[in-house]
Symmetry: D2
Subunit: 465 residues, 4 copies
């Protein structure tokens, strides 16, 4: 309560020394907020829910829809019919952005605009803490990773002003949304088939990338769209080496880092690239839900070198956007704090190793039909795969069986599936990132927020099915 | 955000002119709060939910359990296990009062303590607006009306320091909790049978009251416990005339005004009494839920003359109390505002008349088994009764039938029921406030918050059953 | 509680007849839900918040993240760190869609998937009720109108499989996000300048559209992107007449109906077009926030003829999406009910007329510098404009003055502004939809949810400034 | 969703196998609820917030105020004006009890009534788990411990029907609310001064109790009101030995077990007493907030032998009561589960020992002005005391200093204070439970929910002040 005379008035309601002590505490809370607004970093310790709600409450009172004497005439937005809806949005209703610029501040919603700016700073800090110290700027986009990648591709095209650049080089990764993002942005993907190594790992073919660029002509190619986070036995693309090729031919590299923030080796590889003078990353894009434990709905675009590129991406979003993914992330990062975030990251790394060693020891003990594919373990530390030594029908049953026993995360990948993802674009061996993988296998992620008990439950279940 | 430099810092996040405008709005909101704290009256227009939550959020940050660096060692309260529970209490967990004094401020909860003080002022103002301009002080007690009456009786006894005063004169009203309150406080009720008038109304027998006082001896009598709000055909006790008797014999009058705040004639009668030099009311007690549209749980003790009596009541509550009834009422009164509260009161008066005239016109049209008991209409403007011209079994069925068709308010009162309420205290004709009422009847209240549509639905239903 | 034996068990806790009666009520509630799921229309009367929360609670228990014995291993989404965030999403965290198909049901979130399907049905029904009886299918897209238009353009291109179609014909409307949407989708806009009528109204030039199609060649043109809802004095595009041209040349018509749902004449015009065999609308797109009183964030794509087109749009969204705009709309439509929605629509129409007549009478009374531009009134019944008879500087001050007096809706449009919206695309007279409008003017919308008091406040304020 | 045909209808909205799987999960959740309702014990593992809200939502739909077609006519309660208030009560508004009987089920609120019954069972189970296996019945009373004790005293008097019994024997404990409870119930306390042992501990004087009974006459004495939980160096009353005296003279023993549930030795002592045939406890009363980590507001009355006594207490509450303390406790116990509750209890015991040993080691290291009073440690395992070797003024400063450094739990007790608590009842040495304790001291509780970090912070702070 910042009005002059609060202390005096309150002291006529309750004892003056209690008012004084309480105001000391209030001031301490204000200092926390001040530090947040001026330093724009994750607070060391997470805020309590009360502190978060109090802050949001203040910001809400800065938005016009909450003005005491607001005259709503002429407004087309900001009115909320349902109190349930109003309350779930903490009385923030104007969304973010203005005239199709995501990070512009919305004149009718100063509070929401501040939250947006702060959230962008906080998530950039979180990415630095995850191992990518050289990231310069990040923004949260309230769309999924794929749509955000589309926005990045289109921004890159606009910034280059070279209408011929209609191809995107894409080392194969069997996940539909990225291909769709290329298509949605109006470009044509050039698929680069992967290398299948003897150790069972699958990786991008760097020679193919380079020779394809030479063949198609760099002047026709917008960028390489590489992928860092992926299901084993595929390994993350080596963005540093790919970046060197991109640098050499003067094309961009857009990195689909969907759930890579949680992996130190991935983040350090990205960091090395953006710090380099001979390798390039235009931007890297990550999911909010897969890295920061928020509901599905947002993505983060980050850049280490050319921060004006981030502004270009912001300007290409065609309208005013939902604030929810930003608000979820803002609340969550404040609630975690620096300590909480780093603890979650560290625990995940430890549990990944624990999980792998548990798998190894448990599989040895039983004459198992499953065996760990070791080839990807060094390079892919988010996901691992188990080959399944069973006929197709029975391998399929393993997956179904897990799903119906409420274990919905693991995926069974069968040899020899094929699928048409885009018109004119079909894949053999779809799901396994390569035409003919030698095994059926089961692949799973060991993602942030995983708990030790889940690992035990899974192993028990796997032995059963 | 009251910290110095907020405007400057925020202006580096978003445009300075938007910060400036938002701060103007924030300041207006602060002024509303300042007016509330200094004037301590219902705001003219109700606050929005956002404004209410923002205010509560501030007060919560004044309570020790929300201090940033609170060391909870040694505390036995204030810790809340469940986030669901924490949130429903707006992070206020310390309750109200201290060392068994309800209105004392709680050192660990300055914010809660301010809410309590404000709420007491607001409810006092609401009672003034309802027609009792001379009320001087009111407090919300987080117990039902009956328990609060017990507290008042005991306070009165303590303040008199006359251990002989063990009787409470009680004009009969067939409702159990008040009798229990007399018993709970350790007193013995003396029942005064009512007068049954020819017009069908039932009223307290003033002559009996006076002669009983003479008979038992005023030195043995604590007070008359009179009742204002009641189900027709009983009419409210004439607290002014009873007060004159009490004044004459030097005994107290405690008024059970359970749902009487919503009736102008009742409140004006109380007002006339407390303003008088020859009539007396020690205190009058009303339910929060029956008058202010909050969930069940609280009562308000008010006094017009001796405000120290209110303090005595406060001091007799043996512990620290739940804050919920106070918080519910605080939120509700802020949300209604003066305009909203007066509108609800006015609408109820209009709908009562409308209801009665609808009943009259509809009953004339049908050769009805129900007929309006007119005798109580002038004096009881909250409730009315319809006599039922049916045998007992069928009259009973009317009530059951209404209940099972989801019309749970009206009560059917049958002739000749009897009931034992306290050990040694039984009643004939229980429910009808008199030993032998000539009819079965149905009685119902037209309470605050009633809507026109409900009246139509009821009349339709009544015609059916 | 659907378990067998609930009634028996509950009847050992409380009286059996109370259990029985309560279960009758529960069953009635279940029937409401059943009707909702089977009829898929707005309920006649709105649901209460309790009924809505109870329904959401049930759906939440169908999502895997709430399974009692869920083994989260391998999951990368669905975990929520903050309880504040979890609760604001009603425990739904998986978003909507699957593998980049918006309306596909998400195997991990059966409850969320049902909400999505229902919401699409409900919003389609709401659009029918608004005057467009022939609409066949609608889906809510959790992006702004502009991004959704981009999705529609790209879907249209994919479905045509004609890579040459790179132009979009666009009758000028001075609002940035639509132009951006064309660009984001990778197309090139062809701007059609408007006609300025003598009565001050501005409208699309149908002859220019047709001659431009002939000039550029229909084989190169994807569609006309027309606009129905706009700020006066521009009038809505005549989608029926434009649709005839599109039909004639075999190109699409995508309609930007941003806030047009609330206007009966617009909706009936769209209806006439989609019902016609000689005019065409590919799809029409509307904002959720501008029509349905929810926070900013979503859009609805509707189609009257080719419902497979809606499926194509759904399939082009590249990922899994935020559920928030769907959930907000679902709650709101249930809360409004059919009666509430129709009442809001009717009230807006009445208030528009009231507003205009108030303007007329008040402006006559004062020797005003403002005068109503009558030309657009017949065709644009959402917005109207007042010419300002003041020098540029002072006209500008009017706008600033309104804004700083918390009247943030009206816009002052000055003659002779110019602006570059896209690289290579600049406009003269930007804001007024035409190169040289003869007046400065003020334009404002009379949008759904407007209240009578706001009109008075505005008129008072306008007289001041 | 229990309606017939849900599976079929839902399977037309989303894939049938996903519906089937979700319904399996829903059924598992229903089974959890069934187990809860039939076994009436803490679930082994705590429920998730989603599961709790879902259950509350179901119960809310059983209350008449949420009936779809409820006709509210005649109702005086249940209407809630503010949506904020409605929501914080989970749409339950009717409170608990009926006609002044707390545990009677409220016909208008079947859902609330079930919650009340379940909560009473759950809290009884929690008390069993805490070490008092022989407890037979418990009820939650929505008033503070003191008011609840008053209710128990009055119930005891009524059940004895001996109007002469006007004295309550009370071993001195310097805490105001219990004395007030005796007074509020209309009885006169007889204070029994404590014994000060050489080891610094203070305990009730059993000889004095017996001789006072003989002196006053058992026929005039209602009961002994003993106290188990207290601040060191006072030790808990030996309820077993006191119970033997009570048994011998045929008087009651009401135990103020305010925060004793968290102490195993206290609970086992109570258990031994209620299991005995030669010792007696009429009832024992505990605070909800001090034992179960809920906001301030409720108490639990428990009995091990005569469970009809509990019913008598229930019947003396004069009205319908606030449900909040019950709802808070219900949510919290479900959220804890048996495992969570036992873990909290165990952790507290461990931390008490840890705290004491930390104190010992830290105090030895510094030439401290504080020294641990060891005498009470064996018998009082909730609280301990440190003597302060400083002059009065400085000792006082220690307390003030702690308070203002946000350490609000510890209390400094000075020698030689005196206080009048009730009219005619004053104490010398007030605060220290005895007339002349040899030291100033600081006393603090180690209560449930305490965390290890708090202990360190406190020790650091203590060294500073």
């Amino acid at each position: 309560m910042s009005f002059d005379g609060f202390e005096e008035i309150a002291s006529t309601l309750i004892q003056a020394n209690h008012v004084k002590q309480a105001l000391q505490a209030v001031n301490k809370q204000q200092k926390m907020y001040k530090t947040l607004l001026s330093q724009r970093q994750l607070p060391k310790e997470g805020f309590s829910d009360q502190q978060i709600e109090s802050l949001l409450s203040f910001f809400a009172s800065m938005d016009t829809n909450n003005y005491e004497n607001h005259i709503g005439i002429g407004e087309r937005e900001g009115r909320v019919f349902s109190k349930l809806v109003e309350k779930r949005h903490f009385y923030l209703s104007h969304g973010i952005g203005r005239s199709g610029e995501l990070t512009s501040n919305q004149p009718k919603a100063a509070g929401s605009s501040i939250i947006l700016q702060l959230c962008n700073y906080l998530v950039n800090h979180a990415i630095q803490l995850a191992g990518c110290k050289n990231v310069k700027k990040s923004i949260v986009v309230p769309m999924c990773t794929g749509m955000t990648l589309a926005l990045c591709l289109r921004s890159l095209a606009n910034s280059l002003e070279q209408p011929n650049k209609k191809y995107v080089i894409w080392p194969r990764i069997d996940q539909q949304s990225v291909l769709k993002s290329i298509d949605t942005a109006g470009f044509t993907p050039i698929v680069i088939e992967n290398v299948l190594n003897e150790d069972g790992s699958i990786e991008a073919n760097l020679q193919s990338i380079e020779s394809k660029i030479q063949q198609v002509g760099a002047e026709n190619i917008l960028c390489v769209l590489s992928t860092t986070s992926c299901f084993a036995p595929r390994v993350p693309d080596d963005v540093f080496e790919i970046g060197k090729i991109c640098f050499k031919y003067g094309i961009g590299q857009v990195v689909n880092n969907a759930y890579g923030v949680q992996s130190k080796i991935i983040m350090e590889r990205i960091n090395k690239t953006i710090a380099s003078s001979k390798s390039t990353i235009t931007c890297f894009v990550q999911s909010t839900d897969k890295n920061f434990m928020v509901p599905v709905g947002g993505a983060v675009v980050s850049s280490g070198s050319d921060i004006t590129f981030i502004d270009k991406v912001s300007k290409i979003y065609a309208g005013r956007a939902s604030m929810t993914p930003i608000l979820d992330l803002f609340i969550t990062l404040l609630s975690m704090g620096k300590d909480g975030w780093e603890k979650l990251l560290a625990e995940r790394e430890v549990l990944f190793q624990h999980f792998v060693s548990e798998i190894e020891s448990k599989l040895t003990n039983t004459q198992s039909k499953f065996s760990l594919i070791r080839g990807s373990l060094q390079r892919n530390q988010i996901s691992f795969a188990l080959s399944i030594d069973l006929p197709k029908e029975e391998a399929l049953k393993v997956g179904v069986s897990l799903f119906y026993r409420n274990c919905t995360g693991p995926r069974v990948v069968l040899k020899g599936s094929s699928k048409t993802v885009l018109p004119h674009l079909s894949f053999v061996g779809y799901g396994s990132h390569t035409d003919s993988y030698p095994h059926h296998y089961i692949t799973l992620a060991c993602a942030i927020g995983i708990e030790k008990e889940e690992i035990e439950s899974f192993l028990t279940l796997l032995n059963k099915v």
